[in-house]
Symmetry: D3
Subunit: 257 residues, 6 copies
């Protein structure tokens, strides 16, 4: 059961409303790296994660992200509070669609659940969450660099901070499962190609710990090992006349190299 | 510059074509966790990553993922090679849209770049990649469990294995940057709330290393610290008459609690 | 600020898990008429609605819809709780993507904010909400008719009931603004065509109170009153040679009827 | 059967072409509240509505909306008729994609059928239509406020007017079914919670006719009545090693297969 | 101005309603190759095409496609006319969303304007239309092969026929511009690489008229001619500390191959 | 199996970086007419095309398009290489999402596989490809007209040229099948309406070779030949009480015209 307190979890005080900046802020309200993505991703994971502790953590953080979504929404509401003094060219999204937040990103694209990464395994979920936090943090940094209002910056700084906190929590949870630095999870062990690294992009190759012995075996000149696949034996158009012999066809005339 | 060898990087041999199973395989061709997502995500990152070694790694793995996308496509092509003997109800996607792979997921939804997670910082990118590999591995495991054809399973097992390899490579790259177990990156240090954990989902709370001292400070009963946000001072409809006084309005009659 | 209590707002007790039915239930979790749409629509409206009472109502109902989203999620979680005993063909969505709810509809399409209808005016918002409730109620009725589990039906019946309650609340709010039965709102009065009804679909015409005097003036045989629009005077391809005179062109030869 | 007369249903005369304003006009051509949404929504409803009169009304209005879509398209065509004198930065959408209308909104997002609200019941459909008209009217008002060309304004004013007419028609149709002010429809009566209103958003609560007796019973402090839901009993990853044994677990206790 | 006659342009008589087949028919109502795509594509082109004859042709065909969309809708309406006797598992889309047509494809995905191909030049438009007709024809053939109802087949056969007619019309229009067999159009002549064909996919190469002299010059072993592109000189994260030297970093240690 | 050479297939040298122009270039990286669409469309076709020569051609061109995608990506990377000197308002997409290419179009919309046109028949595929090349060429022309940097123009000119080359190759392949100027393909012959052209858009009709004898039979005043379709006999809401008689209904009162 959800509950709501009209007071904010942390303060939001915009000094100088700027509808243009409000447009950029949408990235964290209805964008890929935004608070809605985070809140819904962690919360939906909690339905299938069986570990009670991790499930509780996911719910705690999800609820905080909803509270952050509210803060970002309030930032946008304040930045569009003087919309009548804004030229349409400077903030067409709000002038046409109305002031305040919308579930769109800074480019006006609708939020989509395709942004969410979850399902089937707690390790997969937690890794997705570490990635989500990194994306959110990155966008907050970009917004802070683009921001000229101190009050807004202070709020964005807090939100950036919390993404670091959450990332640390997810890392701790992964570590408790022994999966922070172990790529394996699940029940199917890898086959014997697990150590091979293929140098498939040639020229100015640079080596590093991600392709060096003893962890990896570097294949400098990989060869195709799969042979030629069979040609399609049942053409898509199952009822088609042979190509080139269809009514009106001029026939085909080609030679093999 | 891209090059292609018509031979496959690893073998694909389907014993018994099954167009229904072909439908499920689409998840790894045109689905969220599929090879197209991986190939394009790693490759597009390589354009903005400045570290030459990590850039090379991203390109090497991206090219392998394109080669894996080809393998999944060949699996689907073989599984739909007897489509004329399949009832439409069993595989409507292929019967209506044609045999062979399409850039759709197992539910028939178009692939979208919204699946891709990248941008602005190499640490963010690498974390996104560890998550992408976990998602891909998870789907391969689900497909293997659902698969009855040994030849198909062998190919899927190889593809699952390679996701583990790539995950290990991305972890090594993160570790080389000191960022595998450090949630911080970028240039903006966190504020002083970075250690707080808020217990926002109440009831049957379970503690764990992700919310315990000394790394974290647990707030068992969080209070709103942001106060009441200001009400909208510039209504969306900037030219609107005051609500309830619009032409034809019956007026409003309400009391405050 | 959001808060969460792990206890449900109302009970969810599935008697006989059925992953196939779980697929249909997704329509109310991640579908167009589902609880996420309702929750986010009402809540995002609350940021720009200036009437404190209606804003409070929107937030109250939004929070209840989040709590209902949780209930639907729990229904789905229970219906997929025996997924290991389900054949992939019966519930491919869960078998491939994992058990429990996802932000997809019953056809596997991602939830999109394009489902949300809001912006710019409280009357527009409230009308959108009456419509949203009608859609949600309709889907619950369809689900109840398709459902064979009594426990599930009971929960769905409650959720259907609440959509009626909310619809009544939105109607009351519209009525308090004098806008339940008055099509006009905003500041721009209609022009003098406001009473005209055009019979543009001919044959077996049926009249009714929606096109009868004195409220309406019925135009049985409408004529175009706009004349011929000017032809494009600046072709799209602004640098194009005149059509038919491009290099290699055979010229054009056509007559006017 | 559709027919078309090249003359417009109402005049379109743009005084001073402005490709920037053309961009905003796209909102009513290929946007959520635009004429395509209205035309297709009403028309598709006509296929399943059994009441011959309401079906005829839906078709009449749908055809008018198609004619309005044409008018908006002509507005855009005229506003982009001097595109060769426009700087790319002022109207990149048209400069890159070509002049004239496209099925995109003012932010460049593709029109999607997710904007349409219809299905299964005539009351639901009519309520969706009242909402659609309100959205369309609201956008026309925003466009008129942003418009500096008198000829364009005159056309937009007519289009705004017709949305009011249609809204009135849909209201009359709802009223003829007794459903304009009655939230109930369909065959399943509500359960005994239908009068309850839950105060789930706390602080500065404001009461109004939408939550007052005798129509409603206000629950000032709602409690969860659903109890704790069962934990997932069948983990997503049905073959996974038991996660679930790690409540609060700090260490890792699992081995690789 | 649009007009509508409730009589159909051609007959629709379904002998034996089958909601499952109705699902497949959606591909031509709300799918990529469906009648809505065709109608809207040709019609929207007519706004920017300056040749009055071709513009008239586009409008004539567009209106016919709207009339065909109506026919497909009526087919679906009839196939779902006994939905109460259909099990939900056989036609979940209609059972959950309601009978009759919806703007979805056979997989339940919303129609999107991304299916439309048009803009900026009449030759480009006409080529897009030849392609659209080919796609539509292909899907009708697939539907006819999957269909067991003679009445439905007869209607589908007519619709397939008309796609051939339209394709011929578009070909004639292209030919009148000299562009049916001339790849060039527009105002920018090609550079001197226009005859080169690169053999970039190696193995079992097959030659044909599309890569043979004198029209083409075949490059059997293409080499990269673009050299190494410069590395990113301004990292994405413009304010980032040098990689590996960020706070907490362990430094990087890698060698060049 | 894919391979990659870090050298570019053709040179990319941007003289003066301009992040605004970089935004427009995205149209050919992640837009509808862009290189990703071309590469994936041709390549996915190669899985179901049975003609070995055409399959090889599709793969050769697909690989070149991937190499062109790389070139466009490098253009964008260079145009955003001085992003720290760019104001956010001039290039918000890159400032918020990071420099370098993304799989978005010039309006910030995610690339979607809905742009791809393929399936089921080689003639359909080749026609789709001729159309795809025309769209790509058109966008390159628009970009060249909007471009002020000579180095960028030179690269764009090469890319435009190659679209012409590919179009010629696809035309040759169609011609080898006798299908360049023959609208028919597949196995189902047209019915006897194949020569009819319906004048459905009235007023200022213009005739041309696309509707003249002997190829076509022009119907100046088409009549509906399909008669009235049956009304829905099984209302959507299969369990609904008759309209107007639902609980609370006021009854219906309407007369037939």
């Amino acid at each position: 059961m959800f509950l709501h307190n009209k007071q904010l979890i942390q303060p939001v005080n915009v000094g100088k409303p700027d509808a243009r900046f409000g447009t950029y802020l949408l990235e964290q309200f209805g964008g890929a790296t935004g608070e809605l993505t985070a809140a819904l991703q962690y919360w939906v994971q909690s339905f299938h994660v069986e570990d009670a502790g991790i499930r509780d953590m996911l719910q705690d953080i999800a609820i905080e992200e909803f509270s952050h979504l509210e803060m970002v929404g309030k930032l946008i509401a304040q930045h569009t509070s003087k919309l009548d003094q804004t030229k349409v060219y400077d903030a067409p999204l709000f002038k046409i669609k109305g002031g305040g937040p919308h579930f769109l990103d800074s480019q006006g694209s609708c939020w989509t659940a395709a942004y969410i990464n979850e399902g089937g395994n707690v390790v997969r979920d937690l890794r997705a969450n570490v990635a989500a936090e990194a994306g959110a943090r990155q966008t907050y940094e970009a917004l802070i660099h683009a921001c000229e209002d101190e009050g807004t910056k202070k709020t964005l700084h807090h939100l950036l901070t919390r993404e670091i906190t959450h990332a640390r929590m997810f890392m701790k949870a992964l570590d408790s499962l022994g999966k922070l630095d172990d790529p394996f999870f699940g029940t199917i062990p890898p086959d014997d190609t697990v150590k091979l690294v293929f140098n498939l992009s040639k020229g100015e190759d640079v080596r590093g710990p991600w392709n060096e012995a003893p962890d990896f075996e570097y294949i400098a000149n990989p060869e195709p090992e799969g042979g030629m696949p069979p040609a399609p034996i049942n053409p898509d158009d199952e009822h088609a006349a042979p190509n080139g012999k269809a009514p009106g066809g001029k026939g085909k005339a080609r030679s093999h190299a």
